[in-house]
Amino acid sequence: MRTIDDFTRPIEYLSPFDRYLGDIVRTLVEKEVMPIRRGFDEDWEEHNTIEPAYRKILGEMGMQRFFFPLDLGGLGLGPSDSGAVCGYHALEEVSRADSAMGVAVAVGVAWVLIIIAKEPHVNRRLCEEFAPMFCDTTEPFFAVNAMTEPQGGSDIENMDVIKGSTIQTTAVLEGDEWVINGHKLWPTNSGGVAGLFGVVCTTNPGSTDPNDFAFIFVPADLPGVTQGKPYQKAGMAADKNSDIWFENVRVPEWYRAHGPGEDFKYFKEMVSWGNVLSIAFVGGAMMNVFELLRDFCSEKTYRGKPLKENDDVAGVLADIATDIDIIRIVGYQAARMLDRPNLYGPGWSDEMVAKARAYKYFACDRAVEDLGRALNIMGPHGSDRIQDVEKHWRDLKIVQLWLGGKQLAQMETARWFYECETL
């Protein structure tokens, strides 16, 4: 019988460690997540059933240590030249069970840390400061990328055009402390989950000077930090999102990731990574869709034979399988590009940002359309939550919407490939 492992990926990019890790994650999520995921929608506010799974994956298995240097108790993937492919593989496996869990893990233990733990711009002092939060505990620990604001939505990610000029969250240097004030919306792992925020700020409101863009770390338990209640959403229950308010929050000056100009540059690298890892969420979920569809279309009959043996149904199944195969190849290739800046350019380059956007845009569009068609094939059973396919349909829609959504992805792609100057 065909399995998800029959979908193609550039296997030469996978190290023995990647394969070993992937096997462990697969076993873990099959045991700890897949049997209970159907109840996650009702647990969106409390996370009573979801939190123990995070404890297993992040705390006990130790995924939250991945990005930190080895000598700080981490697994060294941040400074390595294989962190993207390895992370992609692990997140693909997590997302096969639950893509909300995939994004919560990705943001919580990798995305925010890229700016300080990735070569060639490791901020050793901040790594030393925050490593114990992640590495010296078996309790799950999450970080947050506090980026989106009420007034601008995707404007903040639209860095080439807006250059941070719409950022309303301010950072003012008083003595040797940053004083932060502002209001953020929607960050993954907010709503009381995270212990550490990476906060996108401006040191000069309205400025388009990259030097005024600041990325500053803020521990969640500081005075003046308030998190709202989680939002209720169409899906993605394992990822809590809420408002965060910063009111005269004070952190040491050296909690800024790098400094004028550098924060702006390396934040663009975070955008590239965010887009590439989003493909892992899509690819993982779609591989599970393949498994579920395969079983459904083998068991249900139409015109006196299994659904899959009807040419018209098979045509749609072929389209879906084709897209899954291509998404997987593209995703691993994109991750490889992040791991090989010497060949493909740095992750913060306009080229890499545009290409990462293009790949994510492609993967999301294909997956969203394929999932709609999958539900249609399943007919009256397509909307059954017991079939699980509709869960992926609900979950993946927001992957398409985040990081500036489809329109920004289109603009950034067009800007680079067609050298547009006024968009």
Binding site: R38, D41, T148, Q151, G152, G153, S154, D155, N158, V161, I162, S165, T166, L185, Y231, Q232, K233, A234, G235, M236, N241, E299, K300, T301, Y302, R303, G304, L307, N310, D312, V313, V368, G372, R373, L375, N376, I377, M378, G379, P380, H381, G382, S383, D384, R385, I386, E390, W393, R394, K397, I398, Q400, L401, W402, G404, G405, K406, Q407, Q410, M411
Partner: protein, 409 residues
Amino acid sequence: MRYQELFPMPVEWIEDVDESMAAAVAGWAEREVSPGRLEHREDYDDFLLPAIRKLLVDIGCQAMPWPEDTGGGGLTTPNAAVTFAVILEQVASADTGIGFLLANTFSLQSTFGIEPHRDDKLLSELAPAFCGGREAVCSLVLPSYGDGSSEKSFYGLGYQVAAAQENGQWVMNAGGARPQCSGATASFFGVAFGLEDGTPAIALVPSDAGGLSAGEPFKKTGLAASINADLAFKDVRVNDSNVVLTGEDRYRELLSWYYMCCSAVCSGAMLASYEILKEWGDTRVIKGKGQVFKENPLVAALMGEIGGRAATSRILTYDLARMLSRPDIYGPAGGQAVYATATAVFKHVSRAVMKSIDNAMELMASAGYATEWNLERYWRDVKTIETYVVPETAALTDMARHYFDLKRL
């Protein structure tokens, strides 16, 4: 009649009764649904069920084909199709799930309440249930995919319920038959079964019939107003007089009405989604330079597509309703031509509405995904309707059968 200036419909077919029903339903939506939506979201017991009762009983939507002197609406002619479309569009714009319950109810009632199939004896028997003080939702149980055990099928889809004649009654059996809606709460089911030669028939089965039981309600993507559950039939006996139709033409006629009703429900969801996106586009500012969201060319291009789909979906739905209301011009609703058109309209409208809400979510990004903004509810509801009403492959084959004269499928 809202949106008339924006998304026109053929006003020459709209009668006074349609205008008054639209106004009554709009008032119901403003009083019973809109104020509690944010607080109650999709709560069935405390929010949706009271609204369903008001609509079906107090306004009388469940008794439209019954004579006025019994408390009904007196809609006995095929003209009811247009009235149904008007009502369903209004209801669905407030709550798509409630619209879907009503679409099932209207469709089943069309088989015995609308001329030339009006069955006064059955109407009289059922008047206490539909014209009294309790809600009475109807639900269709249609042929579907099989599990390999179905003995009879209708163009490839297996009858979910087996029936055999015994002493002037039909004895029905089934394991887990999937109704279109409200398996746990409906009062009547319109159950499709195959006659001895496989010809389709529909029997009206009350939910309290001996041997009929509903399983545990199951969770689904949307349509919170429908508490659905699979049904078990264990030697359920129904009188021959409860068989409200037999034969392919009559069965197709039921489906033509059902597809029209569901198109109207989708159209209502489309109009509601339009309003949500319109407000967003009018008030959202992007790029920090005071640029109103809708004035961005890329956004405007997508909004143009959404508006166009809304306009065509609405007019197609009313055109189909008109066709059903005038068999003297367009032929019988169960004829191959009208049935193929009904199928095509439903597929076109449901797809167009689904695509438009998908696009609206893309424009509203996270707000489109959050429950608070209401849009995602329509997205889940319409997708559920799109999957439930007819398996896509069966619908497409039905259309091809007529348009291309298929002989073997």
